[in-house]
Symmetry: C2
Subunit: 247 residues, 2 copies
Amino acid sequence: MLDLLNQHRTIRKYTDQKIAPELLTELLETACKASNTGNMQVYSIVATTDNELKKQLSPAHFNQPMIIQAPVVLTFCADFNRFTKWCELRQADPGYDNFQSFIAAAIDALIAAQTFCIAAESVGLGICYLGTTTYNTREIIDTLKLPRLVVPVTTITVGYPDGISEQTDRLPLSAVVHHETYTGFTPEKIESLYSEKENSEFYKQFVLENGKETLAQVFTDIRYSRKNNEFFSEKFLQVLKEQGFLK
Amino acid sequence: MLDLLNQHRTIRKYTDQKIAPELLTELLETACKASNTGNMQVYSIVATTDNELKKQLSPAHFNQPMIIQAPVVLTFCADFNRFTKWCELRQADPGYDNFQSFIAAAIDALIAAQTFCIAAESVGLGICYLGTTTYNTREIIDTLKLPRLVVPVTTITVGYPDGISEQTDRLPLSAVVHHETYTGFTPEKIESLYSEKENSEFYKQFVLENGKETLAQVFTDIRYSRKNNEFFSEKFLQVLKEQGFLK
């Protein structure tokens, strides 16, 4: 089992093989066995396989080819809509139109998403997370007809791998794990944590190809720029208001 | 593997057996193999085993006994601190003091957390998620000395199970999974989705014990009340500002 988890790689190319509906159902059932907030299950999963709908979703994910190519696109949503409706039918006052409830529901959605991914990988499927989801929640909400108190949090494409990709590097564990309390980072510590990555031929080439001086600049200037982050922050906060999670 | 995931239960009581440091490291290494945003790994994990520190953490988790009793408490944090420091050392302008960056980092933290949980369960350990984390981020930040751009998102207690708890029920899959686009819920559909749960002896007893008329009221009046949700929403948004993720 640890072997399976340790072998994880993102799969962006899929064969033409469909996923049998019974298998997809089994994997979704397994995902729903995962921990969730107070057993309220305040998340939902939209499984999209229709080509026309996938085409409509594609621009929200900046036309990354996985959306069209993967047999199944799963959109995991924070969802207090169903729970709120149930409360209203049961003489109960549902107070879930707030930020804390959004966060609890987003946590539920993500725990279910990762459980689905591991379940899928265990039967030979490959997955890819699309971080574009939180940039373009408005467009996804419109395409998937998500009602009030439902906000997409992440998207996974899933299918049978067409070839095995390289496994990506990770920072040393001491970059991420702190013992007892948080240990701050000195410049020397940062140097030592990032030196292997920065000195690898792969990343040196990557920096050159992007026309930058340092690897960090590829992130700050191209991939995750301040300007984009601030633009998409405003947009996301606006959607949280529109969907009822923020006053 | 699916069996393991399908057998998941929350474990709240642990034996006195410690977790070998080598095993904990191995599980944390595995957790870090999971998908993350742009391979920036914008999360951190604080592993607390010291009794005095666990006592200090305990009130933030409303003194749930697992914090003291579990050999290891893991606090998973959204973390743009390290990445920002690296950018600053590399002539790059880090624009991660915003809400979108918090969400990306929180997603990373949660994917790592659930991967850790599954890894831990696969070697016979038991885990419990503490939803109290997002209520009391301020207190946790102070105890664990979390710097700017670090916010705790979830906490897991982990140890060897002292007995096997009952597996909790789940709603029918059709409560959670929508095909192609979102399907709204009619009152009749809500009735049918919740009827098995509401008519079980376990939940009937649970409603009685809580002195309420309906199961939904136990949630809205006692467990997740509007008043508490709104109070903790304000508190969390304030902490996001203080930690630099919201202007």
